[in-house]
Symmetry: C2
DNA sequence: ACACTTATTGAAAATGATTTTCATTAACGA
DNA sequence: TCGTTAATGAAAATCATTTTCAATAAGTGT
């Protein structure tokens, strides 16, 4: 569904709509887990065989620029991307299947202010990420 | 000071003490900001010219294994390391000079439990990192 | 102090990820 | 339909990291 929205976003920002981009967008937008460029490449090539890995990199770059996707930092590596939530969201990752859930965590203001006072830093951003097991992986 | 402790830790764990390792440890242990392997290499080579970049990688690997250093994740890249704090600590990074401050943030239990309830996830770990300006950079 | 075992080293090569270059193709506004 | 120019994929270039390997030196036992 929202694949169309992403394509529209690209178009509105002066980018052309190509089969390569359609394939990449479709894969990334629908994925519940973070995907690396190569994973996107492998999956998207099932839709559009002529796709090149370079184009995957370039498309991900543009999607990130438009805040449609975001990079996911993990202990094993930081090259994976996931569809970005709306507004300021944090990630919760399943350590077993990679499934990503979003949550809002603006309760951090209190903590942030306390740290600012203690350290003298002027705090402007925060990163919060939780790890665990999703409902499925927890029961199996 | 604590450079000696790190070297002792290495020794206790069966690793030999070499000039290469001494140089790397000295640089990393004393740094207030996260350093990339190449930065460590450049700086440590002023102490020990024959040092090889490969040895830097290998030494960082061992220091991380002993939890003496930890990898720092940043928007620009995730290949830098900083001396690890004691116990469970979070990082606060100065976006201007890179200076790192540590803080404890175990006030997260409440948030964590609330998210666990909402999402059904069983949460086992969290990452929290703050960004801002340190006292120095704030005033200049 | 000496010799011996074996971890450690640096250089070079190999690998892996990402970016650049470039000639060809195709999107899309006129 | 045409023309401009962004987008493409292949290959080469770059950058970070790991592996291989022969030479060296740490540290244990003498």
């Amino acid at each position: 569904m929202s694949t169309e929205l992403w394509l529209a976003q690209l178009h509105e920002n002066g980018y052309r709509l190509t089969d390569a981009r359609r394939a990449v967008v479709e894969i990334v937008e629908r994925s519940a887990r973070a995907l690396t460029p190569v994973e996107v490449y492998d999956m998207a090539r099932r839709k559009y065989r002529a796709l090149g890995l370079v184009t995957v990199y370039r498309t991900l770059e543009k999607l990130e620029e438009l805040h449609l996707i975001q990079r996911v930092h993990q202990p094993m590596g930081c090259q994976a991307f996931i569809s970005a939530g709306e507004g300021h969201q944090h990630l919760l990752l399943c350590q077993n299947c990679g499934q990503v859930a979003f949550f809002e965590g603006d309760d951090l203001d209190v903590l942030t202010k306390s740290i600012a006072k203690k350290t003298g830093y002027q705090i402007s951003e925060h990163w919060l990420q939780l790890f665990g097991l999703c409902v499925n992986c927890r029961t199996n």
